[in-house]
């Protein structure tokens, strides 16, 4: 029972300690790193599930680190919203850790210890960002996640180094913006606790400094989530990262940043301030429309599978930012639901890309020739992920789109609805182009002068299992969208919308 009470802390501490353990054990036995990482992720996942269960039973949990009372000590606040995000993040991390085994052995045989240490630390950062109720503590964890993220990406080939460096610069600017914003808030209020800020700020809503703080924080998280036009670092960084790192970073980092945006907007500022007092919603929805169209169109122009997926992430970020700024209950519900769904969809597709790299050594679309014949099970799972991206029922992607479009109709933002539909159609073209290559073009066996010499057949079990699990989840979560919304998400939508 004691352990259950400590679950909110354990979900961060387990991977943190895991990272140290991996580093130490790795000196003696490189092979043990993977098992340790999976174990740490599993422990963290269990703690997250227990936490969510507690919330659904008793409501919001406030956990005081070291017993210090807020606003002086660091407080973890977990409500339905971040409970849901926690479970999503830890679930995807667990699957990504399982997937990493073969991929890392092939791509990074000499850097296994570093990889798993960074991997687990990154997850620590992400979970910490999600769980914390302290604006400055969030910055610290943001940096932990960011620094490990840079390093993980830079583990890839030479191009990854350049892309990673780009990411370091822009990511650091983003973090600085955020820190600057928090600094403004601290000067004005003397507090860093989110709940405390929420109570103090309304008296200062007319103040320009608060507005500046708001803009700084918003720009900071937008840089972190690669919201158009601040997305330039993302495509190359995620394309050239090692496959196993891509499977963790691509689905989660942008999604957690979206979480942070919504969290800061609703729990530091308030729905009243961001939607009613400031008149930015329309402009931001237009920006989201631009992000969706830009991401979709550039995805069309790619002939590289991973690069195509990265531009789709840019478009999907537009979905979520736009959905939130529709300022309607359905729109916010859709944005939150899409955090979960998009994490799973992106994971599904990046795992598939990882398998392609593992099997063929490349990630061009033309590397997929003959895949349906050679690996039908893998392709079936990929097809489910693709259909979810297009938004075909009953996959999860359909239902978040459902809420987002309803939110658009509700708010009269028909341009946003049109952008979503266009993006769905573009996704249909994109994925059926992939499917065509894999289905129609026979595999030409030009004995590879580069790349691994593995005959193309079904992926190994440790890669296939996460892919199949997430594909099945996409359908199950789709069917249970209503349950998720009524039992969890509706509590996160500000009352009175």
């Amino acid at each position: 029972m004691m352990l259950v009470k400590q679950a909110p802390a354990l979900l961060v501490i387990i991977p943190l300690l895991g990272a140290f353990a991996i580093n130490i054990v790795g000196w003696f036995n490189k092979r043990a790193c993977h098992s340790l990482a999976v174990l740490a992720m599993l422990g963290s996942f269990v703690a997250c599930v227990i936490t969510l269960q507690q919330i659904m039973g008793t409501g919001t949990i406030s956990y005081r680190l070291g017993g210090w009372p807020p606003p002086f000590g660091i407080e973890y606040v977990i409500d339905h919203f971040n409970g849901l995000v926690l479970v999503t993040v830890s679930f995807v991390s667990l699957l990504a850790a399982i997937f990493a085994k073969q991929s890392v052995e092939q791509e990074l045989p000499h850097k296994m210890v570093q990889f798993y240490t960074l991997f687990v630390l990154l997850v620590t950062g992400l979970l910490g960002m999600t769980v914390t109720g302290d604006a400055f503590n969030l910055y610290v964890l943001l940096e932990i996640a960011a620094l490990t993220g840079y390093a993980l990406i830079a583990l890839g080939d030479n191009r990854a180094l350049v892309a990673g460096f780009n990411y370091v610069i822009l990511g650091t600017i983003g973090a600085s913006f955020y820190l600057l914003g928090v600094g403004h808030l601290y000067i004005m209020t003397g507090s860093l606790n989110m709940g405390d800020l929420f109570n103090i700020l309304p008296a200062l809503y007319g103040n320009v400094a608060i507005f500046v703080a708001f803009l700084l924080i918003l720009c900071g998280v937008w840089l972190k989530m690669a919201f158009f036009p601040l997305h330039t670092w993302l495509p190359n960084a995620y394309t050239y990262a090692p496959s196993a790192a891509g499977c963790l970073v691509a689905p989660l980092v942008t999604k957690v940043s979206v979480y942070i945006m919504i969290r800061v907007m609703l729990s530091v500022f308030s729905a009243d301030y961001v939607f009613n007092i400031l008149h930015l919603s329309d402009a931001i929805v237009w920006l989201a429309v631009a992000a969706i169209l830009f991401g979709s169109i550039l995805a069309l122009a790619q002939n590289d599978l991973k690069k195509m997926l990265t531009y789709l992430i840019v478009a999907e970020v537009g979905y979520m930012v736009g959905g939130f700024w529709l300022a309607t209950a359905n729109g916010i519900t859709g944005a939150i639901l899409h955090i979960v769904n998009d994490a799973l969809m992106t994971f599904c597709l990046f795992v598939f890309a990882g398998i392609v790299v593992y099997k063929t050594g490349g990630h061009k679309l033309s590397d997929l020739q003959g895949f349906y014949r050679k690996m039908p099970v893998t392709m079936a799972a990929f097809t489910v992920g693709a259909l979810s991206m297009i938004g075909v029922p009953p996959t999860a992607g359909f239902f978040s789109k459902w809420y987002l479009i309803l939110g658009a109709i509700d708010g009269g933002s028909y341009h946003y609805m049109a952008a979503l539909l266009i993006s769905s159609l573009v996704n249909a073209i994109l994925f059926f182009r992939v499917i065509e290559i894999a289905y129609f073009e026979p595999r030409v066996d030009h004995h590879a002068d580069h790349g691994p010499d593995i005959t193309i057949s079904e992926a190994p079990f440790s890669m296939l299992a996460p892919l199949l699990i997430v594909a099945i989840c996409l359908i199950i979560i789709g069917l249970y969208s209503g349950t998720i919304v009524t039992n969890i998400i509706q509590y996160s939508v500000p009352p009175g919308m």
């Binding site: 259909l387 297009i390 938004g391 075909v392 029922p393 009953p394 239902f399 459902w402 479009i405 309803l406 109709i409 509700d410 609805m417 539909l421 769905s424 159609l425 249909a428 059926f432 065509e436 289905y439 129609f440 789709g478 069917l479 249970y480 969208s481 209503g482 919304v485 009524t486």
Partner: protein, 493 residues
Amino acid sequence: METIISIKPLLAVLVSLVAVIPIVISGKTPNLREAWTFLAGIIKFGLVISMLPHILGGGTIEYSIFEVLPGLAIKLKVDAMGMLFALVSSSLWIATSAYSIGYMRGLSEHSQTRYFAFFAVALSATIGVAFSANLFTMYLFYEMLSLATYPLVTHHQDEEARISGRKYLGFILGTSIGFVLPAMLISYFAAGTLDFGAQGILAGHFSKPALTVLLLMFVFGFAKAGIMPFHAWLPAAMVAPTPVSALLHAVAVVKVGVFSIFRVITGVFGTHLLQSLDLGTMLCYIAAFTILTASLIALSQDGLKRRLAFSTIGQLSYIVLGASLLSPKALTGGMMHIAMHAFGKITLFMCAGAIFVATGKKYISEMVGIGKRMPVTMTAFLIGSLSVIGLPPTGGFISKWFLVLGTLEADQIVMLVVLLGSSLLNAAYFLPVVYRAFFCTPEESMFENKVQEAPIWCVVPLVVTAIGSIGLFFFPQPFFNLASLAVQTIVGG
């Protein structure tokens, strides 16, 4: 009007989906594999038939599968109209399965396991559309059908199949996502429900211009109905093996399209609403344009399957016209035409396939005198043609009779002229084929020898459906009663 809750409709949908598992497992032993297809087909048909008495008694059968979002459920409901469609497609699946065996083995096609598996999935989706209780469920099965038929259409996996497949999905998926999805969401947002109602759900929620736009989005969005200009996928899809064209592009897929339009007109808008705003006439002209244009194009096609495809496009719009006239007789005629056209057109497609299997000929110009070699097939072709033209003694006459009466009832003389003119065009593009087959001297030496038909598995199904076409002239009662019941609910409710 008694409503009972029963799991039977769900079982009828699922049986072919479940059959995919044994079909795939026994992929190495073709005879066993096809036995599974037949077993599933017969169980499906049996389940549909077992629900028939209750429906004919004026009742309905409902089953809620799952409530996905609050107020948005995957739900099945069997009523007279759905029953009619389910009866047609489940009975013809059995005939087509037999035909598939003859055709696929006769040509030693590759990947037959995949072929039979996806065929079974497609049938599940078709019955799902027939039994949908709300627009959302219908949309779900509609999309499932689009995707499940893609591997069937592109079966040959060559460059031509690839381009056709692109066209197929481009039109069908493009319109359903681009038009139907937003129209469905807007309807849901305004009405708060998507359940088909006897008098629709949209009354009082929209102005006339908004309703007009919505109606057009739905009608063009269900591109499986082949209304111009969203018809081009159907001739392209003729690249598929002929059994696919026969069942899917004469019965299941295209009829799902018109059935969906029928449902939207009657269950979402409601005939009274459309009548009071005079929106039916607009649809009539859209349908009439497609009827005449498609028939004219069909005249000039030399590929037999392409001629049949354009004929189908025209005939589908008969059904849309029946719905758009909004009068009881026209609605009855439109619904019956779903059944009558299905039997006639599937016969014609099977004949085209049988000719291809036996002689390798695809073009009408190469079929001069073929009646000497394949008299049974060509006789069936004649019967199918008569049914599509609408001449007695075939079922097509009955549905056309009601459509013509419907135009008079709705006081749309222009539409009467369109129907009669189109019948002449139908005769003009079908009868020469028959005439040249029987009465001209063969140009090909292979036709002069003795009678040599396609394999027995090919011939028997097309004879059965041809006899069915004639039988429906003398015994149209099952379909007529179902259509009348459905119309009573729509008009009287």
